[in-house]
Symmetry: C2
Subunit: 309 residues, 2 copies
């Protein structure tokens, strides 16, 4: 290898970092927890320590830079997190410049779902296309749009908020102020909320538990996944009509339940999109799992480094 970079995935729960070479080979990965309760400085120290450890390990090779994926609304050009329910201590803190100062190497900040979409484009299910959309299904639903091989940022970096597409104008209220957001009808959290409404399982029911019940033939559990599929199908049909991209990917915890939600999802897209019916549009599973964000973050300094100072 002649060059490598370090990708970081700073989540509300997990802090991970990986050294990845220019050909997309993961050289080494460090996985730990995000100790939010210890405060912002402690998290920054952990992050810097992981990066330095990887850099030491591969010294002698050229480090292109560091990419960091974070949950929340970010201002890309400013390297600033402006809103992040999962990382409140980092809101309006100049995280990019601070890490850059401590490391003396270029740092690029990116939204975590955008990073994951870029990772899938670089080394995952989107290798063969330049345009794709990724939906990450988890506590909420994140989204990333890749156009011409690059993240579609919008004018301050808030593009791709696909979890807040309205799938039902009078649907469930969302923390964002809207009603009927996709993530209120198709995230892991939404699955659990539906289970509780239907008195399915105990008070500690999880998305995985609902999946087990569906496998066992439980009608309510299967209905929940149908409802999820319907919501995803409405959102995906909108995305197909808007973008006419060749590829739409899904990732996240509920993916094992594909056979329970995907048929309804695909039927909805089929019905609601002329472009889908008339083009070779693929809707498929992402391939890199929770490592997509690491690949995408590492990809940033390798492929898209530009002076921001």
């Amino acid at each position: 290898m002649t060059e490598y970079s370090i990708g970081v995935d700073l989540g509300g729960t997990n802090l991970r970092a990986a050294a990845i070479d220019e050909d997309g080979r993961m050289l080494e990965k460090i996985a730990g927890s995000t100790h939010l309760s210890a405060g912002r400085e402690a998290v920054l120290d952990d992050m810097v320590r992981a990066i330095v450890e990887l850099r030491e390990r591969f010294k002698g090779h050229r480090l292109a830079g560091v990419g960091i994926g974070v949950p929340g609304f970010i201002l890309v050009d400013d390297g600033l997190i402006v809103g992040s329910p999962n990382l409140p201590d980092f809101e309006n803190y100049p995280v990019r410049d601070e890490i850059e100062k401590r490391l003396g190497t270029p740092v690029i900040l990116e939204n975590d779902a955008n990073s994951a979409a870029l990772g899938e484009k670089w080394m995952g299910a989107g290798r063969d296309v330049n345009d794709l959309v990724l939906l990450t299904l988890g506590t909420g639903i994140g989204g990333g749009v890749i156009h011409g091989g690059k993240v579609l940022h919008g004018f301050v970096g808030m593009g791709g908020e696909l979890g807040h597409i309205t799938v039902n104008p009078t649907g469930n209220p969302c923390g964002c102020g809207n009603r009927g957001c996709l993530e209120k009808h198709a995230s892991a959290t939404a699955l659990v909320a539906m289970a509780k409404l239907l008195s399915l399982g105990g008070p500690d029911i999880t998305a995985a538990g609902i999946y087990d019940l569906a496998v066992a033939g439980n009608t309510k559990a299967r209905m929940i996944f149908e409802t999820m599929g319907e919501a995803l199908g409405i959102a995906l049909a909108n995305l197909v009509n808007i973008f006419n991209f060749p590829l739409y990917l899904l990732s996240g915890g509920p993916l094992p339940a594909w056979d329970f939600f995907a048929p309804r999802m695909l039927a909805e897209v089929e019905r609601r999109s002329f472009a889908y019916r008339n083009t070779k549009t693929r809707i498929a599973r992402a391939e890199l799992g929770n490592e997509a964000g690491l690949y995408g973050a590492a990809c940033l300094p390798l492929k898209f480094q530009h002076a921001h100072h």
Copy 2:
């Protein structure tokens, strides 16, 4: 001027062509009707005659090429109209290559709403931005997305079908197979359909007639525009959440009714989009009216000419 091009707007009703110089000055315009009943050859002859007339008028100057905006689904790279309810005779006919052969000059084919969006970006309300979305309100609703100064085509050119965004999953059935498409709730046609449902005006009521009634204080007419505003607001909130672009434009016949539909539209976007509330996103009237498509079509050979052979 050192260079000019010719933009053509081939609609189901009107056939127009204009010579526009590289600085966006309209030098001359020819406006006529599309004689569909006379057959495809007659329409092609009319189109070629208009272009040749303009070319003769400005001979001595360099003609960059010809851009043609047409309604319907097109394959951009193939220069082919694959589906067009308004120009059925042209479906799957190699219109670009045929015109090119007859003229001996490069021709670029584009969807009419995409052309209009590009025109607004070049010389209209979007002059100062590189990213915008245009919704054209008419019999249906067309859409155009400009990203990085260029039309977002998607992989075969069917991107920007914004009239088919679902604003109500159980809403009015649409010819595209979906229910609750934006254009079934906010186009001029939808306004008339609502008026008939509400027994407003006579059997020949038009969108303009509904507007007159709203001006006169008619409650039903005002409710119709509120309903239109709600549908537009849901669709625009989706677009803001997806793109985070700085500018969203509306054009078309119902624009004079702005004061009746826009307050509700903007309130819906405000409620349904975090990105809208937290960024300087503008939703505004387009400026070029029905000449936007001519500017955009003329812009294509001037700015985006590339060999397609």
